[in-house]
Symmetry: C2
Subunit: 337 residues, 2 copies
Amino acid sequence: MKIAVDAMGGDNAPKVIIEGIEQARDQHPDLEFMLFGDEQAVKSLIQNQERIQIIPTSQEIEMGEEPVRAIRKKKDSSLVQAAMAVKRADADAFFSAGNTGAILAAGLLLIGRIKGIDRPGLTSVLPIAIPNDEGTKRFIYLDSGANAESKEKNLVQFAQLGRFYAQKVLGIKNPRIALLNNGAEVDKGDTFHKEVHQLLAQAGDLNFVGNIESGDLLYGKADVVVSDGWTANAALKATEGTAKVLLKLIKDGILGGGLRAKLGYLFLKPVFKQIAKVMTPSNYGGAVLLGIQAPVVKAHGAADKKAVVSTIDQIYTMLQSKVVDETVAYFKPEEDK
Amino acid sequence: MKIAVDAMGGDNAPKVIIEGIEQARDQHPDLEFMLFGDEQAVKSLIQNQERIQIIPTSQEIEMGEEPVRAIRKKKDSSLVQAAMAVKRADADAFFSAGNTGAILAAGLLLIGRIKGIDRPGLTSVLPIAIPNDEGTKRFIYLDSGANAESKEKNLVQFAQLGRFYAQKVLGIKNPRIALLNNGAEVDKGDTFHKEVHQLLAQAGDLNFVGNIESGDLLYGKADVVVSDGWTANAALKATEGTAKVLLKLIKDGILGGGLRAKLGYLFLKPVFKQIAKVMTPSNYGGAVLLGIQAPVVKAHGAADKKAVVSTIDQIYTMLQSKVVDETVAYFKPEEDK
């Protein structure tokens, strides 16, 4: 199994990418890597080239660049070249911590959709902060930003894509699927969400548990939450933003609170550490673009070595479980079977 | 100035409503009240009837009832009778802590829209958690749940309604108006939000500062944030839900952390108290349905006496500042002038 790695994408690239890849290589004897990036930089950082092939590239796609334009113009960028290796089947999966839009565009336009999928969906893995009866610790959430305008059938496909991922990669037998809506009751929502609710309830192979409100996301009521990209984005950013603001308020309060507050912090440190652990998205792996012919996985731009390793673990599980093959078989049009 | 009060709406009604009204009455010698509710209950709770007229009603609208149906069927409910008093101009403003949907319906269908306003918008006042250069501590956010499907022109009207409210009631000279969108850049958003952005930028009398993302709401980048009801609801509930989850995680961690954590809590108590103060929405007053011919203000269902008093203060400022008259004059169609 071979993973094509964009060594240049991410705030701390290529250093933490290479460190993470080397650690993941040592942990998985059956993994090989193709490392795309600036030859000199990569070679100066790498400790041991075992099972790592370095492919020199001359360009980099920056974080702020317009995605489609960037992948069209920068054909010798580490990101595009890594995607092209997957397209040619030289590698089995794609990894980058770079420009999200460019990763989505490379997945969609270079590697390509699974036949029968109209639009791929970007998943995020989010924490279940409040323990629930099922004992699950995380859920997946899609489409978390790939498409601003979604159609009803896209969301039904997201539910199926999420179901396969939760079964195969997270090991949940019968994943509970929910629809993000503006109320929990059956009759809630605008015309679009009412229609999607009906379609999900009618799909015989989905364990559809109904609507979920954005305020209940972290309570673990579902294993897969589907949403149009627009609403998902608004709810996800508000969730992340609020967590950040509250943690900052606590930190500022401690820093400005004199010796008393600092002592209090020392005593409460284990509590804060545990909360930070639960609420740090990178502990739950990267974002996966589902519906593409190979695993396309994006680590957070600020990913550290640990986050790179855990994202490679995730790709490894995707490859081992053959989740993409199962998805391809499910969506195969009748005439192709 | 006379306020029509639904004494029976809210989790702690009529007790806290009456206590709050009595305190507000003592603070504002020029305020009078009409108290609508169960005569026996109200009379047994009231201490001093000075400037308080009790109007007996025989019905109550419960929290879970379907709003439009409820206001049509329960004509002798405290909520409907309070709204009818405003409609007849027996009172100048409406107050309730009851069923939000029924309050919106009573405002819209019984009291009525301001001429020229297509749809009223429900505001929430939210905290600015991170201090900003302007020194402001709160901002208003609309439409926070009145309409699931909004048109472009509705959002422009929300911006104008919010501007008048921020100027007159919050005392902000030139309120900064922002549009909730899926990115901060000018070209972000779906077709609808791009069009609204254009319209807001073109409105000569608005201090439009551009797009704001839901993750940045609590940073105080604007005084008025306008949004379609759908996105506003998703972002607001995610913000409230995340704050609740994080505070619960901290509380659970302290309770389960033994003596050490409890000591830590004691030392950090002032920090937590300050954060709770900042993050408690009821400290910022009630939700106002803007665009109605009189102030229609809803306190939180769980409002305590203090929240009732601060909401009456808010209505008092609305009446004194004549914000509704100014709004009426601005939206008056040319042929009526």
